[in-house]
Symmetry: C2
Subunit: 353 residues, 2 copies
Amino acid sequence: MTLSGKRQRGIIDCDVHPYPAHLDEIRHYLREPWKSRYKGGGRGMYDNPVNNGRMDARTPSGGPAGSDPAYLREHHIDLYGIERAILLPRAFCNLYPDPDFATAVAAAFNDWLADNWLDRNNEDSLFKGSITIAHQDPAAAAKEIERWAGHPHFVQVMTDSGARAPFGQRQYYPIYEACAKHGFPLAIHPGTDGVGINIQATPGYPTHFIEWHTLLCTSFMSHLVSFLTEGVFERFPEFRVVLVEGGVSWLPGLMWRLDQNYKALRYEVPWLKKLPSAYLNDHVRFASQPIERPSNDQHLLQIMEMIDAKTILMFASDYPHFDFDSPKYAFPKLPEELHQRIFNENARSFYNL
Amino acid sequence: MTLSGKRQRGIIDCDVHPYPAHLDEIRHYLREPWKSRYKGGGRGMYDNPVNNGRMDARTPSGGPAGSDPAYLREHHIDLYGIERAILLPRAFCNLYPDPDFATAVAAAFNDWLADNWLDRNNEDSLFKGSITIAHQDPAAAAKEIERWAGHPHFVQVMTDSGARAPFGQRQYYPIYEACAKHGFPLAIHPGTDGVGINIQATPGYPTHFIEWHTLLCTSFMSHLVSFLTEGVFERFPEFRVVLVEGGVSWLPGLMWRLDQNYKALRYEVPWLKKLPSAYLNDHVRFASQPIERPSNDQHLLQIMEMIDAKTILMFASDYPHFDFDSPKYAFPKLPEELHQRIFNENARSFYNL
């Protein structure tokens, strides 16, 4: 499998993380005063106390996991027969109180990703990119989206789930308008929840990383219900969302609960034209990792039916993170058609690959 | 069916709300300065914009729903053949910044409940009560629990899920020690989430009641994971919790996710002696209302198996609230043994009735 020539059909991996080998790679794209101020980003108080990156993913030269495209190909892409990898860089720009700084860091990550991972001249790129935005300044984020529209290998916009308001609220609409205009889905990824300027979506701060990480799903549940009840998909009929790393098994119960409430409370949300859950198939997708894996495989297969996985679920590995889902072992044996949908066709269609 | 004499076997309803007919009924039990300050409590900005109480539950004399024991018996207890009703008054004392005021209001509700709904001299009371506490002051809450220990008809302690810190954290332990000492489970009920001094368990404030109400489950998920990861059930082996009105369908996925994380991160929580989910059966129960009801009955039956409903689920109606679950219609047809467990035996055993 090579970068040139038509790529063989294989797995589409919807969540792979490329990292700069050194912060100077990002500083290179920043102007002052941001260049001097930039010290990288991270979760700070919710850092993984064991290892957030797979130890075996460190590069042969000792660089950070995910920082060497050649090694990433050998260690992940070629090993599993991956046809395309959707790259989600970790800029952590949503941490910053200063929206100008946040916007500058987002732009720097986009320039870095375009220059180092996405070859504009290669029609058949293995890697597809995400446009990082700082949702603190929706107008600036919309401009950043415009800046990359037309690039052949950026396939979506991305932001972290950490926020100061649920994502269905109207201050964010310039972002969704730009996404819809250019056909970019918005990918939401965890990482800044409860840190920096962002609100923690639990009743107070969790104590441990295991607790914080397990409960990341509460941010995703909140944002999804907000999108649905605020009527974002009525206002922007072309707008689409993909929830990455937020889990999937909470979806059926949450939609049942929301649909039930809608029957009693539709008076509040008259802009909805159908049951809230009925917007999912046209507008929302889920990346699978970390798939919640029960000891009883049947239970997962039942959940897959409840969430309509054949339509909305797309495989993701989260390489090179500690909770990586192996394409070989993350799922139990699936019916062939469902397997094809999850590991290839749903993403191919969603991203128009 | 009468209050005197052995009650017939029927449904045990784990969530019925008694209301004072007038705030003066509560003021009667308050001393100054609290008596003058008390103006009732509520959710304020997240009030139900339609009707929070069933319109048909207003009393014949025009009083608030749930305020007349005789009418409640006729309209709910006798209609469905309810053997026991666990009463959860709505004091909303967790709203107050002043822990002395909060503690006084909690105590007043307990006195009011004991005098008006729980007949100490009747051995076979239809109604069983909950001891309201203000978790803002755990030491005072423990004293309030002590005050009622030995009363024949208080069967649990209760607090709202709205909080400033997850309930597994150690500042709350005097409450759990008192609960464990006297064999009282702690019931957690929604209602003050995101209002008063309490943190909203979503990334920022929801816009609508439908959104806030649908997402109440995030508080419950957070508190449960906190109990489990902090090792509360190792520290207090006799301590038990019942989650009321927080939903149940999120449980399987959340436990799968937590158990998976435990395998990678057990280093952080060395006090756990088994998988986090393995503590549920001995320590945690769920009241069913509002049961998430899918259009496909099989899906709910599958969820029931995943959560081990035959062990941990107890029927609740939430009378007289808008989203009341009818004992007749809330569930699809259940296997006889499972029905018996959910509608009677699990609660009988949990509350030692």
